[in-house]
């Protein structure tokens, strides 16, 4: 049971940030996404986290491998459409057993305005699982912190790649006409 005050204050984006800090994540690679905007801001403002803006998501898979070689933990933030870009580069953590957690904001699955997002959004989980990434979904705000923490734990305790899909229903459909 949480107090009312805590419930009001706790935003799932802030809870992801707290989970990243608790897991000692020191590098965060990202391709910007509206659903990750607040989390990106929190990471950028933290002096102990180096944020790396990427031109394409697979750069982040290689960045994370380099970070781990040097003794640091790295997490990646991306949108579901970016998962497809990662497929071949995921052979790197698979061949070498590099740990990594990817936080993926979903598009193309809930009240999506743009049909071009549906092609990759509907195959995001399958694409990750094709490369043996362990996939977890967070559908509701209350699930997010626990799910992200669990995904980080498994990844860094077991030298595995995990992904948390943050459901589009959780994030809210993108407003196209403002």
């Amino acid at each position: 049971m949480r107090s009312e005050g805590a419930t009001a204050a706790a935003d799932w984006r802030d809870e992801i940030f707290a989970a990243l800090k608790a897991a000692d994540i020191r590098q965060v690679g990202y391709v910007p996404d509206a659903g990750h905007a607040r989390l990106i801001e929190l990471c950028r403002a933290d002096p102990d986290i180096r944020t790396v803006s990427l031109t394409t998501e697979e750069e982040g898979i290689a960045l994370a491998a380099g970070a781990w070689l040097g003794g640091q933990r790295c997490a990646l933030l991306m949108q579901s459409s970016g998962v497809g870009n990662c497929i071949n580069m995921l052979s790197l953590p698979k061949a070498c057993r590099f740990p990594l957690t990817m936080l993926v904001t979903m598009r193309g699955e809930w009240a999506e305005f743009n049909p071009w997002q549906v092609a990759m959004g509907s195959k995001t989980q399958a694409a990750l699982e094709l490369m043996d990434v362990l996939v977890y979904r967070a559908e509701q705000a209350d699930d997010v912190a626990e799910t992200v923490t669990a995904a980080l734990d498994i990844a860094f305790n077991g030298s595995l790649v995990t992904a948390v899909l943050l459901a589009q229903r959780l994030i809210g459909a993108k407003q196209w006409v403002k």
């Binding site: 020191r26 590098q27 180096r50 790396v52 803006s53 990427l54 031109t55 394409t56 697979e58 750069e59 982040g60 898979i61 290689a62 960045l63 994370a64 491998a65 380099g66 970070a67 781990w68 070689l69 040097g70 003794g71 640091q72 790295c74 071949n88 580069m89 052979s91 790197l92 061949a95 070498c96 057993r97 590099f98």
Partner: protein, 198 residues
């Protein structure tokens, strides 16, 4: 058929070039791209602080970036080929934004995909990697086609206070392959042991 400006310069022997870059190792951390640069590094001599890629094409420079950011106390050298660099050209933009002072990217450029039958790469006729690196915000950029200049650059790798990028002009030949282990888990764990983080 146009040729790229500067194409009439001499080109170096790739094995000699790798020898020169690694002559004074001094704790240098090395990442090599899949294919010939991995064989070149192995030919110079295996080292616990070598991380050889056998795949992940396009990823060498970004691995170097993650490593350089994680270990500001150490010098990181990425040596990869023009094909790998071209596949991950966006990495130069990302590195241009970050510019860690302990990172050097050296591209062995023979204008060829040596591994797959010596097909021409984009650098053979059109793309100047030095210009790309400069445009991406990397200020210390070198076009090297003489051993003497390469030797000077090898010293700079240990003393520079900014990200370095070098295009190393090498001949399109295939020296005998020297193959390091392909066991990625072993390479990773050995590297981390050498750094004291495993």
């Amino acid at each position: 058929m146009s040729t790229r400006p500067g194409d009439n310069h001499p080109r170096m022997d790739r094995r000699a070039a790798m020898h020169t870059l690694l002559a004074k190792r001094d704790g240098l951390l090395l990442v090599t791209g899949l294919g010939s640069t991995t064989y070149d590094a192995a030919a110079v001599g295996d080292n616990d602080a070598n991380f050889y890629l056998w795949g992940a094409m396009g990823g060498a420079a970004m691995i170097g970036l993650g490593l350089a950011l994680a270990r500001p106390d150490r010098r990181v050298l990425v040596v990869t080929g023009d094909g790998d660099m071209l596949m991950g050209l966006g990495a130069l933009a990302t590195i241009g934004v970050q510019r860690p002072p302990n990172l050097t990217i050296a591209v062995f450029d023979n204008g060829r995909y040596a591994e797959t039958g010596m097909q021409a790469s984009h650098t053979d006729t059109a793309v100047e990697l030095t210009g790309v690196a400069r445009s991406c915000g990397i200020e210390a950029v070198f076009d090297l086609y003489h051993e003497a200049a390469l030797a000077e650059f090898a010293g700079l790798v240990h003393s520079a206070h900014e990200t370095l990028f070098a295009r190393v002009a090498i001949r399109a030949d295939e020296p005998p392959r020297v193959l390091p282990t392909r066991d990625g888990v072993f390479l990773k764990t050995r590297f981390r042991h050498a750094l004291g983080v495993e």
